[in-house]
């Protein structure tokens, strides 16, 4: 299970990277990065997963005394949550930039935005 998740995650990362580096359309690049980010998040979760344990929520189902043996490590989960939020922020910002870039030149081709060079 962990292996499958991790492999899936890495496949998504590589797919995302490939997409981001081969598509010249800015929107496609952003989508590709989102795919890659999802892959990263899956890898994060899969690394933190411990077989046979439950979600790290302390309620009636998991008494405090047994918590350390019954729940999975909450840290990676917290990290993923944060990473997702930040990823969302960056993606939004990229989309806003894409919009602005399109306004200036009427194109979404990344190679057209290379006046700054050398």
């Amino acid at each position: 299970m962990v292996i499958i998740a991790m492999v899936t995650g890495f496949i998504l990362i590589l797919m995302g990277l490939y997409g981001a580096l081969t598509n010249t359309n800015i929107l496609r690049m952003i989508v590709s990065f989102s795919v890659a980010n999802t892959g990263v998040n899956i890898v994060l979760v899969s690394v933190g997963y411990m077989h046979g344990r439950t979600a790290p929520i302390l309620d009636n189902a998991v008494p405090l005394a047994e918590a350390s043996t019954r729940i999975i490590d909450p840290v990676p989960q917290a990290l993923v949550l944060t990473a997702i939020v930040i990823g969302l922020g960056i993606t939004t910002l990229m989309l806003a930039y894409a919009y602005k870039l399109y306004e200036t030149k009427g194109t979404l081709d990344i190679s057209k935005f290379s006046e700054l060079k050398w």
């Binding site: 690049m29 890659a36 980010n37 960056i90 910002l93 990229m94 894409a98 990344i110 935005f113 050398w118």
Partner: protein, 1046 residues
Amino acid sequence: MVNALFIIIIGLGTAFLLGLLGNTRRNIAYVFMLFALTAMAWIAHSWLWIFTIDAHSRVDMFTAGTAPPFAINLRVGIVETVLVLLVIMSGLLSAVYMKDALLRLGYKSMSVLLVFVMALCGIILTRDVFNLFVFFELAVIATAGLLLLSDDKRALAAGFKYLIISQLVSMFLLLGIIFAYHATGTLNIDGMAEQSPEMLKGIGSLAFFFMFMAILTEAKPFPANGWALDIYESAHPGFSAMFSAGMAGAASVYAVDKLLLIGGQEWLPVVTVIGLLSFVAANLLALVQTNDRRTLGYSSIGQVGLILAVMGQQDILGEHYLFIAGGILLSHAVAKAGLYWISGLIQKRQLTDWSVLRGQPLLIFAFVSFIGMLSGLPPFPSFYAKWDLVMMLASVDRLWILGFILLGSLLEASYLFRWFGYILKRDIIKEDAQHLSLASYKLIVIFIAVVIAWGLAYLWGELSSYNNLLLAIPILFALSFLLLDFLPTWIKNTLAIAGMVAYFFIAYPSYNPLELIYAIIFLLGGAVILLASYYEKGRRVGFYPSAMLMFAGLTLLVMAENSFQFFAAWEFLTIGSYFLILRGKYSEPHALLYLIFSLAGAYLILSGFALAAQGMIPFSLESLSQVAQPIAPWVFLLLAIGFMTKTAVIGLHIWLPGAHAEAETDVSPMVSGILLKAGLFGLMILLMNMGKQQLYGVELTYIMLWLGALSAFLGNLMAVFQEDAKRLLAYSSIGQMGYALFGLALMNQLGWLMALMFVINHYIYKSMLFLSVGGVAKRTGTRQMYQMGGLIAMMPLSFIAVLIGIIAVSGVPPLSGFGGRWIFYNAIMASEYRLPMMLIFISGPIAFLYLFRLIHTIFLGQLKDEHRKIKEAPFWIILPQMIYVTALLAFAVVPGMALHRVDNYLNPFFAGQGLNWDGWTITSNYGYWSPVPIMIVIAVIFATLFMWLLFVNRKAQKVKQFNIVYSAERPYRPETTHFAWNFFAPYRKAMGFLIQPFVTRFWETFADLLHTLADIVRRFYTGNGQTYAVQLLAFIIVIYLFKVGY
């Protein structure tokens, strides 16, 4: 103490609260933002006091009330405090600076700025890797937001490129973090560092690699940094200042430093290599830049590279690490921010457009302070830091690192000072000058940076293990002229002369005879030349600080006891003289050439001292004699080449003719008559302490002997074919210095006496000739000799000075030049080197050729029409010449006055091969020399012949200028009767092949190659964001293959 967490809280809290004010009250929001930044700065500042008392203490602040690894902790120590203060100050000042843009874009931009500053502080303070990730992402988002402050539409593309890169960075960072957590069970950096040995095995090492490369990318290593350059070029200069000083200089670099705690020793070499590569490559590519902000971007990347390289040396730097890294980092941050802020005042973006600053002396001072700081010149922190760094590197034999650092520094200084030349010398376009936006709040920001720069210079001087350079009296004296620059010239000139003379008499008791001769030339000699400066009217802004800086350097050089003092003095006199030379109307390229050669020479001297010291601090100059084999000859070689650069030995001479000829009338004698002696002084110190050295069986002094002879021969030969009188004198200096070098390299007492004789003589007659020729050029408006002629009647005093001067130079009796020759021939007979001796002999008559031209072409022959109403040179230019005439005559009669004591002083070094000084007669093994009878005999012969001439001419009839006929024609124009142009054409036919500009061509080709290389490599930055991403991936893979994979 206020909890440092409040820095974060205030930043973030205010950012949110600004939203309540909305855009209708954006003025209030702006004030709130400034207030918040001030509060943050105050907190950081209050911590600074604690840690300055105890540099090793540090305080951990726990969030969530728990210790790590269960909660994030922030740490405040001296480093964190300083860096946080740096970040906040750059933010605060930039916020003031960007007032217009921030108010235009409203409260959101202010919130983003606060978030940016807060995020950078977070990066510096946090000890948690995931927290580090969060703060980095915040910084990225804020950067993308703040880029929109720019008026430059291209900033949008730059921001997007950065976002692409940051996507990759965050991926690597997250993957690295999770696997590192898996391997160690903690997210705390110190926790990981404790488990570093186990962690760096297996998957943990890959995890570390990912994290490390991600963080390192934020430090913009070459070549994965095209995106950063685009940001630097297009962002608002206020933001670029924050980005360069805060983000790149402080936060990213410190994050790398934190990760190195985990990576440990094993990763230091990686940082070193990447840092050095970035430093050298960025500075090389900057050579071909024409856009100012992009140039600064390259420089920024280079400086961060240098800091990374220093980080890679922390295993050997020990307790000096913070002093060195801090010195470079703070210098970079302050200077770069300051330069970006200045760039915001200027409308156009070419480096040459900065010439609009010319009318603004204060801004020029700011610019000079900043580029001096970046180039590591004294008295700035980077100077002390580089000195210590080089000493440490040499003591553990990391010589290639040392070499690359000096190479990069030289490249950087080259383009920075070329830029300075543009400011002072390039044309100003009127409309541009009117568009210089000198808003007072912007100027205040810039001058706060200047004050901080000099404050840091003082601080580093106090912290260093040497004397504080800013407290040396000569330097203080020179700097005080900056404040007095509003006074008229004659007051400043009087102050300068009085100061130099007074200092000489105060320091007089401390000189030994050898030093005394140099001190007399430097201080009293300088004062005599300064008499000519009374001629200049107005305020002459910038002249006195530069001149006094040069003289301060010279003064300190004579008094230097250890290698540090010597080198600092050397740098001071180099900078001062560079500014002086640059004052000439057409001297821009020549001054730059001079500076580059001088700095290169200085770096060789630095390496020589470092190699010799082997970590000994302080390293006294006498200790040079104790340097052990096998490094001794190498030390000798480095130092000798360094000093010979200053004496313009053949091969390293190409800077001299232009620099000396294009300088102002009173500057030429200073840099020729006085400054050249600094190199000879260095050579004397070197030879006196190290004696003869052999490298691979070759006697190094023997090579110097040949170089001296060749310089004398070729220098004189090149002088013969000059049309420009000042260039002629300049080339003649190369020859004269060749004689002196030859004398020193003979390594016997007579040779040294002769060299000293040349030191004194050359000062007197070269200063005099430069003044006479300068005076003539002032009156005639040209320096081309063939355009002059017949000036003897118009300028009799100048004529007398030149006549006496050339008699002295040519070494015929009765003047002191003959004394020089006489000692010289004795010295040669006392040694065995016949072949170079021949060359030296031949150069004598060659010198006569060009000297003859000076008198013949300028003063004799036919007066030109346009010069018929010309007057004698101005009084103040004539006065020092007359003093020199007197001095030459006096020195010719009583040479013993100066030389006797030196001879005695030299005795112990050369085991008594000296001269006998009996009364008026000087005796050697080969003969004797009595100056007084010679003088009398010559005077009698001269008087007799003169009388006879008067007698036979008593009935002579005066004729008009054209009362002549030749070839059956009567000339009407003076030009047709005065053969002056290409005067020595036949000699040129015979010997011209010897003076083909091989050396010049060699150096030109070298410079061309560098530029071409830079121009090719920089095409690597295609401007396509996707390409940048591929480059980053490739960079990471290459590093992986080198470090982990093999």
